[in-house]
Symmetry: C2
Subunit: 252 residues, 2 copies
């Protein structure tokens, strides 16, 4: 039986500790193609590079393993990976991460890690994002290994429902268990820090404080805070179906 | 009675024809604050600027009207607008656009126009994105005016359901009617165009072809293609609720 083909990417760049571990783990489970951003792409969400060209270079090739770096965003990496590098073979799985920082709750929409996952999901490839609730560049990911292996093997064997992908977040330390959750309702409250340049002109740094408005135990952020790994099944459909009929009456 | 406060932004930059018309229309309905990107931000999705500082300048002030330009993305513009410029008064409405190009279907997730709308929606401000199915910089928006006025007045009066925003797309020419739709299932099939720089090194341009996989008449792209204006009610929640219980059994 042919080994499965696993596509690996992230948003922290190819040099991050999180992707190094993920690649090492995936190489035990299948053939691996990595296309990762050359530089840090945190907060790049689903952005694509349309007004400037992309550069892409192969940095490693061994039996069952190829790695490339790409000058663009995580979504650019997926597009280049699927349409240029892997165009003769559709990957069996896309994994993104392990992100240095949680992508639970509203963070999903800002996340480059999850954007790559959505891009895979949009073309019907089983796709999983892995994130750790710790931003440190030397974060310890070892306690996540058993859960990542178990979930990845399960998805390689049984796939995911059509149009569904997974957003998986791990607590910084010991994992109490796994909980399947919904995205917690929350927002970031921004505080701009003003500085002056040497010419006396103002510039601003974006900083923010996370506000959770969801007290439900089924919400990903809440379970993560309590020490559980959260799995949020997601899809690429923003439609609010619950108001569809009501708004037909109102607006048509 | 105090005039409503309307926040206007877009992703095509403050100099685009679409935002000029939208500002003109909104000034008839309320006090207006504009914070628009200094430069073109198409395809920037929900990205935020975290690794470099932002610049922001006031470019106009009259009775009931202020306009600013911001060096960042559409989401940066909303964050700066809400948390710095308008921090003493919460806007009654956010409008984004009118975008030069459709944001129906999968385009939603790449769109800076809709990202601004989601950012408003996340903090519970009624938010609407307007887009025209034509990319030309000198596109004609006049046929959209009556529908924009009608919908905007309706939302100013009656609000929107909590957590719901609107993605509204207009056909390039005459509007046959208004249809409330779901987001069409589709994807972009990319084709990278390779060029060589003067040093002989390759670089790539991202180009793509839209593939609609949704034949349902209730899908926004399909209605738009038939000459209707589409209204897709949306929310900022990626959770796939339909598999939640099944995946609890599978993964917990």
């Amino acid at each position: 039986m042919r080994r499965p083909l696993i596509f690996v990417t992230n948003d922290d760049s190819y040099r991050s500790k999180g992707i190094e571990l993920l690649v090492e783990m995936m190489r035990k489970l299948g053939d691996v193609v990595v296309v990762a951003p050359t530089t840090q792409q945190s907060g790049k969400s689903h952005s694509i590079t349309v007004n400037e060209p992309l550069r892409c270079h192969k940095i490693a090739q061994e039996e069952g393993y190829q790695a490339y770096i790409c000058s663009g965003t995580p979504v650019d990496c997926v597009k280049i990976g699927f349409n240029m590098i892997m165009k003769d073979r559709i990957p069996d799985l896309l994994v993104s991460g392990i992100n240095h920082g949680s992508n639970a709750s509203i963070n999903t929409i800002y996340s480059g890690t999850m954007a790559a996952v959505f891009e895979g999901c949009a073309v019907n490839i089983p796709s999983i994002g892995f994130s750790l609730d710790c931003h440190k560049s030397d974060a310890d990911f070892n306690h996540c290994i058993p859960a990542i292996e178990k979930i990845t093997k399960d998805v390689l064997e049984r796939g995911l429902d059509e149009g569904v992908c997974l957003n998986i977040n791990f607590p910084e330390k010991e994992i109490k268990g796994i909980k399947v959750c919904h995205q917690a309702k929350a927002y970031w409250n921004e505080d701009f820090v003003e500085r002056k340049d040497p010419m006396g002109h103002s510039y601003f740094w974006l900083t923010g404080v996370y506000n959770c408005m969801d007290e439900d135990n089924g919400a990903d952020y809440n379970m993560l805070s309590k020490g559980y790994a959260s799995i949020t099944p997601m899809h690429v459909d923003f439609t609010s179906y619950k108001v569809l009929d009501k708004y037909k009456t109102r607006f048509e």
